[in-house]
């Protein structure tokens, strides 16, 4: 099946704290077509985020579609409470890089 890079479909891919104990990811798509394509692809599951961040699936607290902003949002348990010993990113603003590698499968049109 043909695949499209998520970076081709989305114009915002970001991570940020949602409070000191959760890390949340926002993927905001360029247009309705890209958003619908991503939603219908079925790749945006808790298993995807668990795999990318090497965490158990129960630490993925939710994957939510948000059509008003053409967005998909996922939230995981923070690796540690913000600012605790061992912290690498107090604001959680640079934890998005694994998302940039996501490939979204698209149905190939029949000739």
């Amino acid at each position: 099946m043909k695949k499209v890079a998520l970076t081709e479909l989305a114009h915002v891919i970001r991570s940020k704290n949602s409070g000191p104990f959760e890390l949340t990811f926002d993927i905001i798509f360029k247009d309705d077509t890209s958003f619908t394509l991503a939603v219908n692809s079925g790749v945006f599951t808790p298993a995807l985020f668990a795999g990318l961040y090497k965490i158990p699936e129960e630490e993925v607290l939710g994957v939510i579609q948000y059509p008003p902003a053409k967005a998909i949002k996922a939230t995981i348990v923070r690796p540690r409470p913000a600012g605790s010993l061992g912290e690498t990113d107090v604001y959680g603003a640079q934890q998005h890089a694994p998302l940039l590698t996501i490939q979204v499968p698209v149905e190939e049109e029949e000739d």
């Binding site: 104990f21 607290l61 902003a69 967005a71 409470p81």
Partner: protein
């Protein structure tokens, strides 16, 4: 139709705003100016140590412009989460700035101060009623005793009470962000859904515009059916996307946004572009729930010392993680009588940003290392950091050909004492009533 115009000049007091945008905003005759001054994002230190994460001179600059305009126009100025974290120490810090400006500009006014501190005895007596807010353990008596400051987020109710008492300026401790923007509206009987949703967006000022900015003005005009938002800087505009997307920011669920006593339900919210730079929002609802307040607290962990070092030798880089483990053992061996410290390495160029989450831990041609020691006193942290640095500097690893030293140290002195280290220990809900927080009136000037 009844209307209320609310001005949010800046995302956080001290982040600033262009004077032109502020003048343009005042031309819309706002009924109230609200400013959110706080955030937990900068981490536990600022609450734990009772220190503001915003700069004093920058906060003074903003207030020196806001205060006289609000007083001249006879409109209230509401400031939420004073001093960034909103404990009594932060409140006193911000109050002093206000009093200084009043003296300098010859202003006099009635001010309400609303503390947000939680009494430890009250909390200990109600420990079993608290609920963890997020993935963290239940609250213990130890957490309460060790927390340096404990605050809770007040809702809009104490601000309404302060307005009823005739306060022209209200300085609140830790506050639910939308409260300062919604308090006057709710006092006047506007519906909660639109009033609080508008506050939720206004608290970040022009961040919800395109291009977004935390240091620019945003206006919200509320009526009984919804609200209209627009920035006052002509270089920015609100779009359906920029406003709708804001519900995602720093939140786990964009449909349901909880606060004290209820939640904003945005499942039926509609966004409509009504002019080139304005967006109209309707259909936001509010669902009441049992009243509970969100508490925050942090405790002292120890004191920190850092060394920043660079590594360029490819043989060393290829063995770096092993060498660091050996050095860690050497430190442990040398100070076996004092095991009460933490030693950590950040390896920039390998996995310094993501740590164990890094999917591609391949080192670059050069690597930056931060050696971090945290111990019970600053002296102990200095000792551990210093010993670790010298050990690493001269460590004879396998195959070494550069025998003069393993680290490029950019600074002399090489070790930087970084002071107290805190961690969050309270992030829990406590059942309460809206009158839990009491405004106190003070005459300024």
């Amino acid at each position: 139709m009844k209307k209320l115009t609310v001005l949010s000049p800046t995302a956080i007091l001290g982040y600033g705003f262009p004077r032109e945008s502020f003048a343009a905003a005042l031309a819309h005759d706002p009924d109230i100016i609200g400013v959110d001054a706080g955030s937990v994002d900068p981490g536990p230190y600022y609450l734990g140590a009772g220190v503001s994460f915003t700069d004093r001179a920058a906060v003074k600059r903003d207030l020196a412009l806001l205060l006289p305009e609000a007083l001249k126009r006879g409109i209230p100025l509401l400031i939420g989460t004073a001093g960034g974290s909103g404990a009594h120490e932060h409140l006193a810090w911000n109050r002093e700035i206000i009093e200084e400006i009043a003296a300098e500009q010859n202003l006099s006014f009635k001010m309400a101060v609303i503390p947000a501190d939680i009494d430890k005895d009250h909390l200990l007596a109600n420990l079993n009623k608290t609920v963890p807010l997020g993935p963290l353990p239940p609250l213990t008596a130890r957490d309460v005793r060790e927390a340096t400051y404990i605050v809770a987020q007040m809702g809009w109710e104490p601000y309404k009470e302060a307005l009823d008492m005739g306060a022209q300026v209200i300085l609140g401790g830790r506050t639910y962000d939308p409260a300062v923007f919604a308090a006057l509206a709710l006092k006047l009987g506007f519906p909660k859904g639109p009033a609080l949703h508008m506050g939720k967006i206004l608290e970040c000022a022009a961040i919800a515009a395109e291009p977004g900015s935390g240091r620019d003005c945003m206006i919200g005009v509320l009526d009984e059916e919804g609200f209209t938002l627009f920035p006052t800087n002509p270089q920015r505009r609100c779009t359906v996307k920029s406003v709708a997307a804001h519900s995602l920011y720093e939140k786990s669920n964009p449909w349901l946004l909880p606060g004290p006593g209820g939640a904003l339900d945005l499942r039926h919210t509609l966004y409509r572009q009504v002019s080139d730079n304005a967006v109209r929002v309707t259909g936001s609802e509010y669902v009441e729930s049992d009243y509970a307040i969100k508490m925050e607290g942090a405790r002292l962990v120890g004191y920190r010392t850092l060394t920043i070092a660079g590594v360029r030798d490819p043989i060393f880089i290829s063995q770096l993680e092993d060498v660091l483990e050996q050095v860690r053992s050497a430190v442990r061996d040398n100070f076996e009588d004092n095991s009460n410290y933490s030693l950590d390495f950040k390896i920039y160029g390998l996995n310094g940003v993501m740590g164990k989450l890094e999917p591609n831990p391949v080192p670059g041609h050069e690597v930056g290392i931060i050696i971090e020691a945290v111990a019970g006193t600053q002296e102990q942290a200095n000792t551990i950091c210093s010993f670790c640095r010298t050990t690493l500097l001269h460590y004879g690893y396998e195959g070494r050909i550069a025998t003069a030293g393993n680290l490029a140290l950019p600074y002399s002195p090489s070790d930087l004492p970084a002071g107290a280290v805190y961690e969050y220990c309270i992030h829990h809900l406590l059942p309460a009533t809206p009158d839990f927080f009491k405004p106190e009136i003070v005459e300024v000037g």
